[in-house]
Assembly symmetry: C3
């Protein structure tokens, strides 16, 4: 963190926040839909929404020592999760028709969280490999907790999402390269970036 100028910290922070909230929303919908299908009550559905949307980010924040986690200290995560949960609860038939869309939501949430998680881990000083791993764990954490809460083996462990996760990791590494680029002295030629990878 101390290596990044104040202005860029602000930009990175805003980017992280938007990615995180967007990921939280789509994961919350997937959590709420599972809750409805398993006949949970409204409270259970909202818990599943929040767990699906925040478990990954909370795990990441605990692991890098960023306590209290953003999902706990920032009310917007809760608001987004509850909004998605209530939306799904009251318009389930509408959202159920979007079944394929939900799968894409899930994958999008995974990718968004993987990028945001990688970026935040880098900002807290973890090395790139572990930051990418943490980004991936962050991405799949919400879905895993969501599935465990209804006592089923997490979908991400059964189906072929690993290619996507791999893509997320690559994306995270690319973002890292960009960040490294930000830190390069102006005189250094941009082409040298690829060599360092």
């Amino acid at each position: 963190m101390p290596l990044i100028p104040v202005l860029e910290q602000k930009t990175i922070h805003d980017l992280l926040l938007v990615l995180d909230l967007a990921g939280a929303f789509v994961f919350a919908i997937s959590g709420a839909m599972l809750g409805v299908r398993r006949n949970l009550d409204i409270f259970g559905i909202l818990v599943l929404s929040f767990a699906a949307s925040s478990a990954g980010g909370i795990a990441r924040d605990l692991l890098i020592g960023a306590v209290p986690p953003a999902a706990i200290s920032d009310w917007r995560y809760l608001a987004v999760a509850l909004a998605a949960g209530l939306l799904t609860f009251f318009w389930y038939s509408l959202i159920a028709r979007l079944r394929t869309a939900i799968l894409i939501f899930d994958a999008a949430g995974l990718a968004l969280f993987a990028v945001a998680g990688t970026q935040k881990a880098l900002a807290y000083g973890l090395n790139p490999l572990m930051a990418a791993l943490l980004g991936m764990l962050t991405g799949i954490g919400g879905g895993i907790v969501r599935d465990l809460l209804v006592a089923r083996t997490p979908a991400v462990l059964r189906s072929d999402l690993y290619a996507l996760a791999g893509a997320g990791v690559c994306f995270g590494l690319r973002l890292m390269a960009i960040r490294h680029g930000w830190n390069l002295p102006v005189a250094r030629p941009i082409e040298s970036e690829d060599e360092r990878e």
Copy 2:
């Protein structure tokens, strides 16, 4: 924390401890009973007792950055959980007759933990809404982990305990109001408290 005078900190600390230990005891009994019904061995039963009694508090402490968590650093939580576990193991037939009582125990533990959790989160500087949420998560955390350990969907997500949890949140908010009252200058009229809510 720095806002509260030393004497009141002591009082709050004692109150938190008693609420926490009482909640731990009743949750440990519900954990041990589930363990016996699922034919776990004595070790499994004691693990379930401890997990049910401490998982919520441990989660709260990790989330607010109070490490090591009270349930780990204070032997009394372990002692209470093991006592409840052994009690249930050796006098199961007696305790099984108290089936309805157990459900009430469970609800009481949830309420006790919700209050203690809210109060501790407030003491660590979280804002009231998130403190109440954390109190609720604390309250249902033990029961969730207990149920997950025997691979079933947590009872709190299926049944209609949300009303109770809501009550717990209200109770936590009320406690908060009282605490805010403590911090009020003497000259300010008490009636203004409701307006701030």
Copy 3:
């Protein structure tokens, strides 16, 4: 930590690392084998390897406030887990013949982790009883998460491993006695050690 001379800290650190990595390897194999038996894809198998090998250590590190946990900040834990996972994935038929060996691996991993966990908790200033408890929780944590990820009641809660866990605790207490011995002034007779226990 401040009580231990620098040289001994180094030795303890090395001992912890070797115990931890050895435990991580055997647990990762048990995780990967379960993944193969449950028809998880290669990504799921590797996640299960890492979860089984690192969940206990990560839980311990979070609870004692050692963030980021060793399993996240040190790439060797990941390398060991992935190696064990790939080994199991490509030579499953070979490893499946070693079924009894796997059970022994599992127990060995539990004991190794219990010792390493106890030692690290002591180094972070927890009292001996809680350090031993944390060592035991560390030892069984990986296996519990491994089993939960495929939605089954953790084996350690069902079968009679508690005697082994007990042995682990004893071993941890013994190590503690040794460490206390290191801190004894030379003039003090060794026989007094038993009395202090």
